[in-house]
């Protein structure tokens, strides 16, 4: 008479003698160890347990409810040792498992080295576009980020392209996609390598999303810190290997007075534009530009085109000057009060304009005087309408 232990094989209970339980436990532990690193390990174990359960069921009946130790041993021998198909282990049947016997095919389970373009979100700065592109082409993502920034300077093209890529390129979420993104085959060897790097560990042991997110954040920070350190080194040593490469932001302050002059330049351009409008209107309406008649024989539209060209000719130096002043602001290196100064100048101009109009145009003056009572009337009517609701 021996002790009986009840086990669970894929949801069905079986009773084994104690000795049989020990043998089965050892067999399954062995199998798990041989399959360590195999991505289908759990599934294979489940299949094996199911096969064992089937064999047990064949041995049991109404009059026999326990599997005895000898029967368990027989079943285990029938099952045979579990060999991981991805690693070519020594064949169970061959007694002399020398190196010559086993075929040397360690990467037998490797899928073809197919690389697909994904956005890689891990360790990325914004949406993983540069990361994904870098992994696909084998270029450092930092270089791609630099390229995007430079493109963005060209009237924002870079930002537009980036945004489109965020929408178009899928994000690598499952481990299969992630390995396809970097072109590394999802073999057991690769998983083992990653596990050693601690990567797999982090993803496997966190079952709740909070800890998972926390770990991912720290991982990303580490990666980003490293890349930022690299970027800093590159910036500092850039002049060694690429003369004339403009650093970001420019270390020298903007040209003197540029910030102060900037709103005036914008104003000048506006005045010029208004002058253009008036000139065109006068040309079209009266047939001459402020009293200067067109040379004989030249049609009207030529005159208009000429005016537009003239405007551009005069406006171009203004534009250049504005750009020279704008660059520092564009990079973000703007003196903090530049915006305030800009607004003040414009405000003063508006007030000045209004005062001029008031002073020189009686009609305007009257309209201005009428303004407060008009506003009051309007407010009253609004209040009435509100009260009536």
């Amino acid at each position: 008479m021996n002790k009986v232990i009840t086990i669970n094989l894929n949801g069905v209970a079986y009773q084994l003698e104690e000795g049989g339980y020990e043998a089965l436990r050892e067999y399954l532990d062995n199998a798990a160890r041989r399959l360590a690193g195999n991505p289908d390990r759990d599934e294979i174990i489940a299949d094996i347990e199911q096969a064992i359960a089937d064999k047990f069921r064949a041995l049991l009946g109404a009059h026999k409810t326990v599997v005895i130790t000898k029967e368990v041993a027989v079943v285990i021998t029938e099952m045979g040792p579990v060999e991981d198909a991805t690693k070519e282990g020594p064949a169970a049947e061959s007694a002399n498992a020398t190196a010559g016997a086993g075929p040397a095919a360690p990467e037998a389970g490797e899928t073809k080295d197919v690389r697909r373009l994904y956005r890689i979100y891990d360790g990325a700065m914004i949406s993983g576009v540069c990361n994904g592109l870098g992994a696909y082409f084998g270029i450092d993502p930092t270089i791609i980020r630099i390229a995007f920034v430079l493109l963005t300077l060209a009237w924002g093209t870079g930002a537009l392209v980036y945004f489109l890529l965020v929408l178009l390129i899928p994000s690598a979420k499952t481990p299969a996609e992630k390995s396809a993104a970097t072109g590394v085959a999802a073999t057991a060897q690769e998983f083992i390598r990653r596990a050693k790097a601690g990567y797999y560990e982090g993803f496997r042991t966190f079952h709740d999303k909070q800890a998972h997110r926390e770990w991912r954040r720290r991982f990303k920070q580490e990666m980003r810190g490293w890349t930022q350190g690299l970027q800093r080194d590159v910036r500092e040593n850039a002049h060694h290997w690429m003369p004339g490469w403009q650093q970001n932001p420019p270390p020298q302050p903007p040209p003197f007075g540029a910030v102060i002059a900037w709103p005036f330049l914008s104003l000048l351009k506006l005045v010029l534009f208004v002058a253009l409008l008036f000139a065109v209107l006068s040309l079209v309406g009266d047939g001459h530009i402020f009293g200067i008649g067109l040379p004989l024989g030249i049609p009207l539209w030529v005159g208009v085109v000429f005016l537009i060209v003239a405007f551009h000719v005069f406006a171009w130096p203004l534009k250049m000057a504005r750009r020279a002043c704008r660059y520092p602001g564009y990079y973000g290196y703007r003196p903090p009060l530049a915006g305030l100064w800009d607004s003040l100048v414009w405000l003063a101009c508006m007030v000045g304009l209004v005062w001029l109009a008031d002073h020189y145009s009686p009609r305007f003056h009257e309209w201005l005087m009428d303004l407060p009572p008009m506003v009051h009337q309007f407010m009253d009517s609004v209040r009435e309408w509100w009260a009536r609701r």
Partner: protein
């Protein structure tokens, strides 16, 4: 070494090919595959077959669906994928080529 032992590694290498052939005939359970193989010289055990099937599934040569079986929990029912059929065709061609070589070598 008996002749059986000498051919161990060859049988092991051919196993995947034979499994592909068995599954290509019709949809089978893993237990059926074992039954067919054990009737031949290619005696196989579950411990070898299950990891092999799993590797073939990862390579997308076979696919399975869960089928309810009488008196028991649902079982995996294997069938070949298009890629698997392609692979089977290639392997059959290659097998014919090398068996032709084996036959013709050494003939005068």
């Amino acid at each position: 070494m008996s002749i059986d032992e000498k051919f161990t590694s060859i049988r092991k290498g051919l196993l995947e090919f034979l499994v592909l052939k068995i599954i290509s005939a019709n949809q089978v359970y893993a237990a059926d595959i074992l039954k067919e193989l054990n009737a031949t010289e290619f005696v196989t055990q579950e411990g070898t077959l299950y990891p092999l099937l799993s590797k073939m599934r990862r390579e997308q040569l076979v696919d399975y669906e869960w089928k309810e079986s009488e008196a028991g929990p649902p079982r995996k029912y294997y069938e070949l994928t298009a890629k698997g059929r392609e692979q089977l065709r290639e392997t059959t061609e290659y097998w014919q080529k090398i068996s032709g070589t084996v036959r013709s070598l050494g003939q005068k």
